[in-house]
């Protein structure tokens, strides 16, 4: 119906109104719409307030992606790209969702300077390296990184396997099931798997995860990313970096949809 036909003189019967979109609205309908809009506005405000107020904190991760810095130290690729400085051991990653293995290969086990951006959380720092920013510094005292085992027998851990870069501040929150696709993509791209243990103190450094002897998470473990898991692991360290060494067959989901404990047997893949 065109607007020219919208005069609607016969639709003004106050005792028997009918709403027709192209005609003037009856008073009853106008009042009903106003009441509905007020209710909707109240409901939307309530939902927004309630949902924001009850969102869990994403933690205190920091990504200084506008503050380029220079670091010096001993660069190694084993067990994961790291820069060992006299003070600490810093994980090194690339831009985006990529590990830095390829960029570091050429300079591995040498004293270098490199430029990048700092990510940090829970006392753990990471460098997001600027491409082609490594400069060899020649001969210098070289600390040989060694993996020092702290446990003989594995002990139980409960928490979430997370991708280190997002969790340290690149994404906030960088954990939880909604973040799963990103976490899996990051781990497939070679970013370091770390372990956020339940009830860990805020000052406790996040450990690097070595699964089945590799810092590259096996594909069959990806189903456990971004969920609470239980696992048996042995503690170790490289420099100041804590490490958890885990056999993937010990990983199991800590709870199901309703929060009940549930054990899932991992089928080891052929590869």
């Amino acid at each position: 119906m065109t607007d020219s036909q919208a005069s609607g003189p016969n639709n003004t019967n106050r005792s028997d109104p009918l709403y027709v979109g192209y005609m003037p609205a009856p008073d009853e309908h106008r009042r009903a719409v106003k009441r509905t809009l007020i209710l909707l506005a109240a409901w939307l405000s309530f939902c927004a307030f309630t949902l924001v107020l009850t969102m869990p904190s994403p933690g205190e991760g920091v990504w200084e992606n506008s503050n380029e810095r220079v670091w010096e130290g001993f660069l190694t690729n084993d067990p994961y790209p790291m820069l060992l400085t006299p003070e600490e051991t810093l994980l090194v990653v690339s831009m985006g969702k990529h590990g830095a293995h390829d960029q570091i290969d050429e300079f591995a086990n040498s004293h270098v300077s490199l430029r990048g951006y700092e990510l940090r959380r829970q006392g753990r720092r990471m460098i997001e390296m600027v491409p082609d920013s490594i400069t060899p510094l020649g001969e210098a005292p070289s600390p040989q990184p060694t993996l020092s085992m702290l446990d003989i027998e594995p002990i139980d851990f409960t928490g979430e396997i997370i991708d280190g870069k997002c969790y340290l501040g690149a994404m906030k929150p960088g954990n939880g099931f909604a973040h799963r696709a990103c976490a899996v993509l990051c781990l497939r791209g070679g970013l370091p798997a770390m372990f956020a243990e339940d009830d860990a103190s805020p000052d406790e450094p996040l450990p690097l995860l070595i699964v089945d002897g590799s810092t590259q998470v096996p594909e069959h473990v990806m189903q456990y990313i971004a969920t609470r898991v239980q696992m048996k692991a042995r503690r170790a360290s490289v420099g100041t970096l804590p490490v958890l060494i885990v056999d993937s067959s010990t990983i199991e989901r800590a709870n199901d949809f309703f929060g009940n404990p549930k054990t899932i047997v991992i089928e080891q893949s052929e590869d």
């Binding site: 639709n11 009918l18 405000s45 205190e60």
Partner: protein, 356 residues
């Protein structure tokens, strides 16, 4: 109702409706982001893309519930008709917000990595629930509905196909619930979102059950009545002329036939199908305005005696032969071809109805 297709036949109500949607959506998203910034100051600040993903996702779910509630609400009370009138614009707006949510997810969760961003989001690890895929499927359905929401598609696909396609909204709604419950809310210690979405689902379900029950009971009542009154000639006694208010109709259901709307206008009765040629709206819940039966959903009009839209419009609906015996109304349950002229059945009004 139009004699030619236009992108949108704007009128004052549609402009207000769309402006309200735009303000509500913008207000919700901006408000959500501002509140989050206030309650989560640095260094606990949530990343802006993730805030937008959440705001758009929540906004889309709220809009979807409103869309699903409007239909049955309009069946329960005619006062909800203004919400129904332009619901397709609300649907397209909802799809746009859901699409922004999806694009942000693909861009930020799926981007910057070693895989195609879309595949990275949809490629759930073996053994885990593909909640992202549920959302993707729902978005495809909503996209199909948004793309075919215009009257052009309604006319060219046919009412039955169009309606069937748009009933897929319920499948998409279930997919959305699965997307949310098996995704972000999974193992979430915060029960508030689960409570809110449960309230929404309960309201949607209750209103549909209530409306459906009402329709079934009405059909059952009319069936019982008509079965008793059916005479040997095939004409069916459907009601008394006194059952029908002036310029209004009584909807009757005759066994094995579709619903018929019997309209009273100027001391005469006409019978037409209850189904509007536009979107299948219940013509019998409409009213005669300017001498034409006017559909309560979108205002499509038909002359009661012939079922034709007034010129230049070309829509036609089926009519039924009708007669009055005493004060009883009888109709022939076999419909005439759409647009067939039938003689209105005159009757003597009671003195108090003379103003009619």
């Amino acid at each position: 109702m139009s004699s030619s297709y236009r992108t949108v036949q704007w009128n004052a109500h549609k402009k207000i409706y769309d402006l309200t949607i735009a303000l509500a959506v913008t207000g919700f998203i901006v408000g959500f982001v501002i509140l989050s910034r206030i309650f989560f100051p640095s260094p606990e600040q949530i990343s802006t893309p993730i805030l937008l993903i959440r705001a758009c996702g929540i906004c889309a779910i709220l809009m979807l519930h409103l869309i699903l509630i409007i239909g049955p609400l309009a069946r329960l009370t005619p006062l909800a008709a203004p919400l129904l009138y332009n619901r397709r614009h609300l649907g397209v707006s909802f799809f746009s917000v859901a699409l922004i949510h999806a694009l942000l997810v693909v861009g930020f969760y799926g981007g910057f990595g070693v895989q195609n961003p879309l595949l990275a989001v949809l490629d759930a690890p073996d053994g885990s629930v593909p909640f992202e895929f549920f959302g993707f499927l729902a978005l495809i359905i909503f996209g199909l509905m948004a793309a075919t929401s215009h009257d052009f598609w309604l006319a060219n696909l046919g009412h039955a196909w169009w309606k069937a396609m748009h009933m897929m909204v319920y499948l998409a709604y279930i997919l959305v619930l699965a997307h949310v419950l098996f995704g972000p809310l999974r193992a979430d210690s915060n029960v508030i979102p689960i409570v809110l979405i449960s309230i929404g689902a309960a309201v949607v379900l209750s209103l549909h059950i209530l409306t459906g029950t009402r329709e079934v009971l009405r059909d059952f009542r009319d069936h019982a009545h008509c079965a008793q009154e059916n005479d040997q000639s095939g004409w069916v006694d459907v009601c008394s002329v006194d059952d029908i208010p002036p310029d209004r109709a009584k909807i009757v259901q005759i066994e094995n036939h579709e619903r018929v709307a019997v309209f009273r206008h100027n001391d005469a009765l006409s019978a037409i199908t209850n189904i509007c040629a536009h979107q299948g709206g219940p013509l019998g819940e409409g009213k005669i305005i300017d001498g034409c039966v006017t559909c309560p959903w979108h205002g499509y009009q038909y002359k009661p005696e012939c079922g034709q839209s007034p010129p230049p419009y070309t829509e036609k609906i089926a009519t039924y032969d009708i007669r009055v015996e005493g004060r009883r109304v009888l109709i022939n349950p076999s419909p005439n071809p759409p647009g067939t002229h039938t003689e209105p059945a005159s009757f003597e009004p009671w003195p108090e109805d003379q103003h009619d």
